[in-house]
């Protein structure tokens, strides 16, 4: 996993509530057996005017100029500003893969769906929960200020505006530790292999039918 420590970047607004993972990456791209190559298909149905399929040259497809991420002022954005319940729906990890591979490193929203939340942290995509009022204000500022950037500091757990205003955010301490150090979670768990084996023996004694 890539480390995440600090990030200062251009902000793009995704001003709709309940953005689901089917919208973030449509199902036809879930047929891939790879972990990469999802960036061009982030928000595919909103982003292009035609219907996309895996294997197409996406750079040649007609682009929906009205879609916010296609506005030139948001090109190169690394922070996505979103609304309530971002990432609801399916468990597809292709959603955070697509966001990361498109170039986003952090998403700010009032709330996130649970499975999406876990999947994002396991891939180094930082999700930042800020209250609705703060998010409303950030939306106003992004809309009114071209080139609007935010500084995200995971160590300090702060988001700072160009005007110097700073907002604290909460983050799970375990996720924070893994993100700051780019740790392999499987390796960390296997450090407890003896405990897992001991549990397994007790569990088998108590519920032998689970092991028959």
């Amino acid at each position: 996993m890539e480390k995440f420590v600090k990030q200062e970047g251009l902000v793009a607004p995704m001003d709709r509530a309940n953005v689901d993972t089917d919208a973030i990456i449509p199902k036809q791209y879930l047929k891939s057996i790879k972990r990469t190559g999802y960036g061009p298909n982030l928000f595919d149905e909103w982003r292009y005017l035609d219907h996309g399929e895996p294997g197409m040259d996406h750079s040649k497809r007609p682009v929906n100029k009205d879609f916010v991420l296609n506005h030139p002022r948001y090109h190169g954005a690394t922070v996505l500003l979103a609304r309530e319940n971002f990432g609801c729906g399916s468990s597809r990890e292709h959603a955070p893969w697509a966001l990361l591979q498109h170039g986003f490193q952090a998403v700010i929203a009032p709330s996130f769906a649970d499975i999406f939340h876990n999947n994002s942290f396991k891939n180094g995509l930082l999700l930042i929960r800020l209250d609705v009022k703060t998010v409303d204000r950030l939306f106003e500022q992004v809309h009114s200020t071209e080139g609007y950037r935010l500084a995200v500091d995971l160590e300090q757990q702060t988001v700072t505006t160009p005007g110097g205003e700073s907002f604290k955010f909460d983050v799970d301490p375990f996720f924070k530790h893994c993100l700051l150090n780019g740790l392999d979670e499987i390796g960390l768990t296997l450090e407890h292999a003896d405990k897992i084996k001991a549990f397994e023996a007790r569990h088998q004694a108590a519920q032998p039918w689970l092991f028959s």
Binding site: P26, K31, D172, F174, I186, F199
Partner: protein, 471 residues
């Protein structure tokens, strides 16, 4: 001892280790694997030189990409080469890494992973069950802690038999009283989501209880638990009772003999203790639940059959209003349109929500001796598994559907998400027994209305949504 919830009991009995910050290692008993969310996990194992911790925990099948027609052509019948490769990759991964049991494409017992787990007795009360699929919550119907995971977590469970998890809050949803005639489990869960919202359960584990839940069959309880995730909760569950135990008995992977006798008394403890504390309790009056039809692009956008499409101009919250307006535009619906005037042109009966024998019986009962309306372009019935299909055929349901103009298909996820060729076309309006009505879910530009099997069947016959109770 303090009174514990069913969730507390399941959590405590699988706890391997708790770190100081409360992060836990949770032991996983059953790992269901399908072709879409596993290839990158197996690749990760290979790259790291790791082996599965306990192959015997893995039950695998191919369901998302598999076609529901032309099975005589074999694997070559999967027209899309990308889909075919994914199905073949699962074959190779199971061959290389192993599984307790694998039901590959074309196998007589193949089917939707959430249908075959319980059907095979591979889902047992008290288990922790995970799968790289958000509808894993289905298995909670057996008094299991069952939830969907992402691909990194699939790899993590394969390698360590554990998940890194934090305990959620607990919510009890009491549905008390008797359901009206023609009201089903699907109407209960849609009514719950309509009430608490699609993020109402975020951060919670749900327990469905009350006399109306107790009165449901296991199939009905699976339908309710299936859509927990549509209320935002990763897991939903129902306490064990006689029905649970009766359902499990005699299934291929269920314990037998002395082992069965040992298991049953333990399973009977899998209920919330009287006085156990829930962080939130929601109550619904079963008698007040009407047949449900979704009108928008999120499962919480649902109303009753006698209702109307809501008017966004009456919504005060600007974010919500904008969301409703966008949904109505996508759905091509006008505010205040009576639900009974909405005319679906495709009917889909299937998906892990509603593809079990009871669902097919309910739909067949409605269509028996009738014909689909001329305006309906396509009506398909996709059984949840090969075994459900065989049982339905033994009962003659396939003929009932065929005579009514419904196509009788091979099992799989099918048009719930259209990863195979059962993709809806732009502008199609579908009465669907699946679980999600998101934009593009059943096909780009396709419009989904979530309903129960009986309501989908009735809409197919009438050519518009209709109250199945007066049908």
């Amino acid at each position: 001892m303090t009174a514990r919830t069913l969730y507390d009991k399941l959590w405590d009995s699988h706890l391997v280790h708790v770190a100081r910050d409360g992060t836990a290692l949770l032991y996983i008993d059953r790992h269901l694997v399908h072709e879409v969310t596993s290839p990158q996990a197996y690749e990760g194992l290979k790259l790291a030189g790791r082996k599965p911790w306990r192959v015997e925990s893995v039950v695998a099948t191919a369901d998302h990409n598999t076609p529901t027609r032309n099975w005589e052509k074999g694997v070559a019948g999967i027209a899309d080469s990308v889909s075919r490769l994914q199905v073949e990759t699962l074959d190779q991964n199971i061959k290389a890494f192993g599984a307790k049991v694998y039901f590959p494409f074309l196998d007589k017992q193949q089917g939707i992973v959430h249908v075959i787990g319980p059907e095979q007795g591979a889902t047992l009360p008290g288990m922790t069950v995970v799968c790289g699929d958000s509808h894993t919550s289905t298995h909670g119907a057996f008094g299991c802690l069952a939830f969907g995971i992402g691909t990194s977590e699939v790899e993590h469970v394969l390698a360590t038999q554990c998940l890194v998890a934090k305990k959620t809050k607990a919510m009890r949803i009491d549905v008390e009283g008797a359901l009206g005639t023609g009201i089903t489990a699907k109407d209960i869960i849609l009514a719950i989501i309509g009430k608490i919202g699609s993020a109402g359960g975020t951060g919670y584990t749900l327990e469905f209880s009350g006399s109306a839940i107790r009165a449901l069959s296991m199939e009905g309880r699976m339908t309710v638990c299936n859509m927990s995730i549509e209320a935002g909760a990763r897991a939903g569950m129902v306490a064990v009772d006689d029905k649970t135990i009766e359902y499990v008995k005699g299934r291929p992977f269920a314990p037998m003999g002395a082992m069965w006798d040992k298991a049953v008394p333990y399973w009977r403890t899998l209920v919330s203790d009287p006085g156990a504390k829930f962080d939130k309790v929601v109550t619904l009056d079963a008698a007040a639940i009407q047949p449900q039809v979704s009108w928008g692009t999120n499962p919480q956008m649902v109303t009753t059959i006698d209702g109307k499409v809501p008017d966004p101009s009456e919504e005060k919250d600007p974010v919500k209003r904008e969301w409703m307006e966008r949904a109505l535009k996508y759905m091509d619906l006008r505010p205040n349109t009576p639900i009974t005037e909405i005319r679906p042109d495709k009917i889909f009966i299937g998906a892990c929500t509603n593809s079990r024998i009871e669902d097919l019986r309910a739909a067949a009962q409605v269509v028996k001796g009738r014909r689909i309306a001329p305006s309906v372009k396509l009506a398909i019935v996709v059984p949840g598994s090969g075994l459900v299909k065989v049982q339905a055929e033994q009962e003659g349901l396939d003929k009932v559907f065929a005579e009514a103009g419904f196509e009788w298909r091979q099992p799989g996820c099918s048009m719930c998400l259209g990863m195979n060729d059962d993709l809806a076309s732009p502008g199609d309006r579908i009465a669907s027994t699946s679980n999600r009505n998101f934009e593009g879910r059943q096909g780009p530009g396709a419009r989904t209305h979530l309903v129960s099997p009986a309501m989908a069947a009735a809409a197919g016959i009438a050519g518009h949504f209709v109250d199945v109770r007066s049908f």
